[in-house]
Amino acid sequence: MRRILRLMMLAAGSYRREYVRCLQSSLAASVVQAAAYATLIPLLYELTRPQVDEAAAWGWFGAFAACYVAETVLRLYELRFQYSKWADVLAEARLRLGEKLRTMPQPELERRAAGDLSTVVGGNVANATTGVSTLGLLFTQLVTVPAVLGVIIAVVDWRLGLVLAVSVPFAVFFVRRIQRLSGSGFRGIDAADARAADRIVEYVQGLPLLKATGQVGRQSRRLADALHAQGEAMTSMQKRVTWPGLLASSVVQLCLVAMVAVGAALVLGLDLSPALLLAVAAGAVRFAEPLATASAMSQVFELTDAALERVGDVLACRPLPVGAPEARIGRFDLAFEEVSFSYDETPVLRGVSFTAPERSLTALVGPSGSGKTTITRLLTRYADPASGTVRIGGLDLRDLDPAEIYRHVSVVFQDVYLFDDTIRANIAMARPDATDEEVEAAARAANVHEFVSRLPDGYDTRVGEIGGALSGGERQRISIARAILKDAPIVLLDEPTAALDTESEVAVQNAIDALVADKTVLVIAHRLTTVAGADQILVLEDGRITERGTHAELIAAGGRYATMWAAQTRARHWRVPSTAT
């Protein structure tokens, strides 16, 4: 309970005070509501007397009506938060989550699946804030009204109050039980859902193959099994919560009948006036109402709880610390000093040391998984090394403000990310203040201008979601134009031409030539011809630098590099064999 309250306050963020005030008015409204129900007792008592005092009866009626008006006003006040602040609270919570994502250490970001984070920032946070603004209030009402009314009934006649009070622990017990059962049930369903989803994706992707062997529809064992397991998981959950649900919702109302029965016995034993029993019964009916609602809503509470939990989990993430936020980069040489790095306990770099002088070209080669990409990533402070130091211009990256690092580093990777916006906006992203002329100049240098000017809206053409409408080479060139516009003194390249076909390749190569002129360059390449002219080539194997030198030196050494060079020369001459010969 206290945990939920804490999470709710966390979700309310800077609207905390308004929220507390809203909860208070909800509490007041609930007390008034209970008071309204309580006035039914004297009112009915009055009406049941042999000689009805009309003035007194109308007086109590007036009290009831006044309570109604007061309650409505308080509820409207309470509603004001829910109505006019909900969107603000949600926006603030989303921005806070967004800020967390922006500063979260990259490995942490990658560990959480993108789909999962989208759910948190998109759906969970909305559920959580809705929960805060509606369920919080509902909960206040559900607890307060029966409590106040119960006390009043107990004061009027403790025996009747006791019978009603007996129902509460039962109801609470069953509600708890539903929550526990549905908690484990939901987990089972989630697992079955995830499996079924995977099987569906698999099914669609494998359709040509599955169709060839007749394993489709009901004949697809794997899919049919997963779908049945899914149905089973839901059915078993339903069966488990049916009885507790039934008991939770009925126990209170049944206690009401029990109360009337006990009361009737007392009346017949002349131990209680029938008028009083009648009056209490009228009030007690309202006692049962919110408790029944609570049991119906318990699963929704569970859902909100889970949502709050997940939002709180992301908000609790800490960004990488910055040692000296004022430090500025003055030179553009790179240095790795005895750097080691592990990814999920698996060492990826083991004591890597090298320096790359300003304006030099350094190539990283080696098998995949040898640590090449990790080196380029550590240079943008993807994460901090487990030991050792990464420096730019002699400064430890841990001391630098991330913005200062990014200002001086351009990255062109295989994965090109384009926003669903115009081509101009995508290029200008690197420097939002750039003029149209500057954007166009960068686009020309990157061989982008020509294909962009043939598009219907030129630079104002929207690229569509993640640039699906553009070819790989075109997207790659836009990302290079972005880097050229940024004109950062350090350039990191990761296999930028690996996935392109012939006609794109030449264009991208020309664009890269324009980008790297005069820069400190670190490049990852599989095709060794690309980097044969580098100032130094570092050969990585299993997280260590095993060879280093120029192309000529490494060939002369006759080691690993020389072997790779020979193998590639052979592969380059490979052809799809003609079957006719």
């Binding site: 039914l40 009406l47 009805v52 009626f61 009831f64 109604y68 409505t72 909900w86 603000d88 989303r94 800020e99 994502l101 922006r102 990259q106 970001l109 984070l117 998109g122 859902d193 569906i200 040509p208 062997t213 394993q215 489709v216 049945h228 059915t235 339903q238 009948v257 009337v260 029938p274 009648l278 009916v285 309202r286 304006r359 995949s368 580093v409 351009s410 990255v411 926003f419 916006d421 020509e450 993640i466 699906g468 070819s471 996935a499 012939t502 006609e503 030449v506 030539d513 790297v516 002129a517 005069d518 095709r527 002219g533 590639q568 592969a571 380059r572 052809r575 799809v576 064999p577 003609s578």
Partner: protein
Amino acid sequence: MSATISSTSTAEKREPAPPEGPPVTGPSPGRALIGVMEPVHGRLLTSIAVAATAAVLGVAGFALVALALRELLEPVPDPATVFRLLGGALAGLLARFGLRALSFHLSHLASFELEVELRTRLAEHLARIPLGEAQRLGSGAVKKVVQDDVRALHIAVADSVPLAGFTLAQPVAALVALGLLDWRLLLAVLALGPIVMIGMRLATRDYADTRRAYDEANEAINAAVVEFVQGMPVVRTFDDGTSSFRRFATRVHAFTRATAAWQESSRSSMIFSRAMMAPLPALVIILAAGVWLTASGSMSPATLVVALVIGTLPIESIMPLMWLAHHINESKAGAARISALLAIPPLPEPERPEQPADGSIRFRDVRFSYGPDGAGRPALDGVDLDIPSGTVCALVGPSGSGKSTVARLIPRFWDVTGGEILVGGVDVRRIPAEVLLRHVSMVFQDPFLLEDTIAANIRLARPEASDAEVEAAARAAQAHDFIVSELPHGYQTRVGERGARLSGGQRQRITIARAMLAEAPIVILDEATAFADPENEAAIQDAIAELTRGRTVVVIAHRLSTVADADQIVVLDSGRVAERGTHRQLLDAGGRYARLWAHHQRARTWALGSAARAEDPAVTR
């Protein structure tokens, strides 16, 4: 940049953009919802009837409590009558809760069964529609329909159905009971009728417009969230996230404004329904009438107690319905998408099936367009091809020229718009899908793997194959060695989700082994496959060489040098055959292919930085 590269117009480069989900062209959402529930209609009607009975018994139970109280008010109450009435009340209330739970139980079980049934139907339908159509929808969009949209029906089926029965029967029963007790109280409660009507009106009138506006804002924010979150890991590699955060923040604020505007417009109706659609105002009216009637001695106070209990039921019934309305709309939208997917016409199967005679392929004046019913820009515009059995044909051309379309029409991913395609001398439309797909193996860039063992993955192509045959295929695909030496359980190693435990080259060789096992006379190959894993290039290339031996091969070429030995090279441009011949012939012709070849030679020898640095002698190397 040379003329060859720029000659392709941008329109042709664009592959048809996959739609977000199936087009919503089915019946109206409401009808679609009822339509998809068809398999469990009978059980849902039972659930409604049970729920309605529960509501009636509940009202009766409450009324009996009140009658018991009335008896107690008599000068000399009869204990037997009192307890008989209370016993009846208890039985009524127990039945109410029991039946209500039963009705929900029935509808829930029906709903779960419906989910399984619908998903199975969808899966079957997906196998009947053109393969290309299924792939164009995309596994993500299909998953959304099959999983999420089907799940969205749950609220409408499992919760709304019994609740509708209950909430419709309860007010009627309450009003009847009131009328029987005292017709004047009935009139008082009926006075609430207009209020209820107005409330319902207000709650539903704004609905369509405001919901649409809010939905749009909501969709926009969801898209923004997806872009922000999914882009973040990549964005963070070139930026500290400020630019994308700025975009995100802008959209978050836009959403806030849209929400605020919507809430502003629906404010008055909301306040009205909050103030009036609650038990308290109903109680005020009943009490006013009750005090007046009771004080004047023309009604028993016990009757008033009953009125106080059941008089508010009509209004209380409405609240859960309003609460559900939102979810039902989601269900409707989901039902519409489900119906739309089921409405995609299946690919016709031949009435008199024929078998292909050999591995030859022939295109006769083939026209094809990705648009609906063959409308739109033609992707292929009169293509003639003749690929004799056992020869290699390479398809060359810029992206969007029609290479992949040609490749995908052979296994009948779509039907041609005009002309015909013959495989083994038979029109593909006269070959049963299963036979055709067994006749043609496809090895594409993104290998398809099941989350299962290596052996199961290879055997997928021929489920009846023996272990020895599976191993032979793996050997030929250069996969046997890594399977037994590098994987913990050899052929019984599970590959992980989408083959996560294997490298790109290993996945590729597993799919090649599968194609080996299939022993199809025709192999369609995406040449990029050969370069999936730079470390294992040689092994993959050997595997492909083994696979293509003695078969008809159609290869989609990216790097020209690999297809120079092909029996024929077909150069495509804008959906037409621009040139064809052997490598030698095409070079001699000095046309498009010759220019591409020159480019290719240049790209191969590119060395980073050499151009710029050479011009600047000041830079010391």
